[in-house]
Symmetry: C2
Subunit: 339 residues, 2 copies
């Protein structure tokens, strides 16, 4: 049997497990919580992410170690030879270094640096990773920034897009269709893929530069702003990504399956869309499951997490649905959501 070990046992780990079990893959997860969502689909090592003994227990006998969040300590990833490669993790953990990398690779992004570099208004963020919009503020007047902060030009973008790609050990690379994403309070609410009038080729070029730079293995997500037709890179995430959940039912091969195929050195699967897809996150609380299942063609994913304000506890995907069904789905979800 093949064993995949994963740092983190949240919903992304759970969906990796659901995608991998049919391929005959066994899973082991490391998570501080004994009720981690992924425990339903594999062995769970309960421990802190920086606990060396726990990391050893996670990795023993594994064919490959991966991770499902980008705050993994780079030294841990390196010690375990984790995939995607630790360098992607490292460069993505510091927004300043990430933006410099974009610049070096010719990937357009908003101006960044000090407030003098960006002009006003600007968004000031901590250089180290925030999460779901935490640790960001808009700044409209010059002020003294903290030592570990970074300013980014405020971009009046038209919409937020993302593109996901996967690269195998042999360099084989595939891209899923660009998704259009709607956030509120810094939390992803809805993804639509393929995005209408998507700049697919251009987005693939930008993500392809990152994949090649890292000699990447696995799934990589790149968030983009579309400002008047011009693409600006916002950030990348070296892992499976919420804006790719639609691929479970909406693409021939899901991001989860292709991530596993890539890190295990297996041939990659086709990333073609099956039909237009809409993914809606369940935030804070979920409606009764029958209200969701009543929607024609709705695919419901609950993560086995306790409801809690602003927490992602599940999602619903509609493929090839009528727009009126999409609107109804969003309405049902929003009525139940508390955040």
């Amino acid at each position: 049997m093949t064993l995949v070990a994963c740092i983190g046992g949240g919903q992304l780990g759970r969906m990796l497990g659901l995608a991998g079990l049919p391929l005959g893959i066994d899973f082991r997860f490391l998570d501080p919580s004994s009720t981690a969502p992924a425990s339903a689909v594999g062995e769970l090592v309960v421990g802190a992410f920086d606990n060396l003994a726990a990391l050893e227990r996670l990795a023993v006998g594994a064919d490959v170690v991966t991770y499902e969040f980008e705050n993994v300590a780079v030294v841990s990833a390196e010690r375990l030879d984790a995939l995607p490669p630790a360098r992607a993790l490292e460069l993505g953990q510091d927004r300043f270094i990430e933006k410099k990398l974009f610049s070096r690779l010719g990937i357009p992004s908003a101006r960044f640096g000090s407030l003098a570099d960006t002009g006003l208004p600007a968004i000031v963020k901590s250089r180290r990773l925030g999460y779901d919009g935490k640790g960001q503020r808009r700044v409209d007047a010059l002020e003294e920034m903290g030592e570990h902060e970074l300013a980014e030009e405020f971009v009046a973008f038209d919409r937020e897009l993302s593109i996901l790609g996967v690269r195998g050990h042999d360099g084989d690379t595939r891209f899923w269709p660009v998704a259009e994403n709607t956030h509120r309070d810094g939390i992803l609410r809805v993804s639509r893929a393929p995005a209408p009038d998507a700049p697919q080729a251009e987005a693939e070029v930008l993500l392809g530069r990152l994949l090649d730079e890292f000699r990447y293995v696995g799934v990589l997500a790149l968030e983009l702003f579309d400002a008047g037709g011009k693409l600006l890179a916002n950030e990348f995430a070296p892992r499976v990504h919420n804006t790719g959940h639609w691929t479970i039912e909406g693409a021939v091969t899901s991001q989860f399956e292709n991530h596993l195929r890539a890190i295990l050195g297996l041939p990659l699967g086709a990333t073609d869309p099956i039909g237009p897809s809409v993914m809606i996150n369940l935030i804070g609380a979920a409606p009764p499951v029958d209200e969701l299942l009543r929607l024609p063609g709705a695919h419901v994913h609950l993560y086995g997490k306790e409801p809690r304000r602003a927490r992602k506890i599940g999602h619903v995907t509609l493929v090839d649905a009528l727009e009126e069904t999409v609107v109804e789905a969003i309405t049902v979800v929003e009525r139940a959501s508390d955040g």
Copy 2:
């Protein structure tokens, strides 16, 4: 949380679990083997199927009890209020009673009874359930039949078909497209759905009579012979069925998900096909997984079973594939198969 208990922890239980976890359902399985395939997706009670204490442990706290094979003791199913209803199980366990039921419901089938009833040649089967062609023989001359045997007219059919349907507590009924099935040595090898020139409406009428007769809840499969355009019922199976595995990727809602929706009183999902599908069983031994994954659009399902002669250890489904890819897939599978 919702808990579904299942008598049997084989691949059908495993696929029920994979379909149900995203709906937030927890699973518990009863199986004599401590390495039962379904143990990857739920709690496993190790015990004989007729062990009363084990059956009690299986059912405690469960919202509903179901089963994944049709040799479950009727008394056990009744005691646990299992769904599908025990009467379907009971009538299906005796081929003579099953055939009389077909007759009473106006469902055409081959002549049956004694060799005098059927004429020659005939197929003589044990009345009680056989499995995958075991316990059947062709008879070309009059002979004395065993006390527990039944003769069936030998039908020179053109092809084997099956139809699967699902019925909810409220009587809501859905049918998947008819599949065309190829057996060898009594073991299903390939299912194609929708079957070319399928007698969909007629098949739905026949299966609908059974669903209504049993006030059925869950998925019911009906195997049919197509003899010169005339449909003859062969047997029914009160459970999810190998000829419906293509529905995982090939239909909007799979047989596994809809079985769970039905027995839990949830709204049923759409059964429309996504595209033409071909399912190929992996019998005895599987080719290396990369040989399968290299096939464009192949969806691989391994059940976590040790290879053994004539054993179903997995399957591959191709949706919307070129016929040359289908032929290649069958070739790859057959080369590895030992049975």
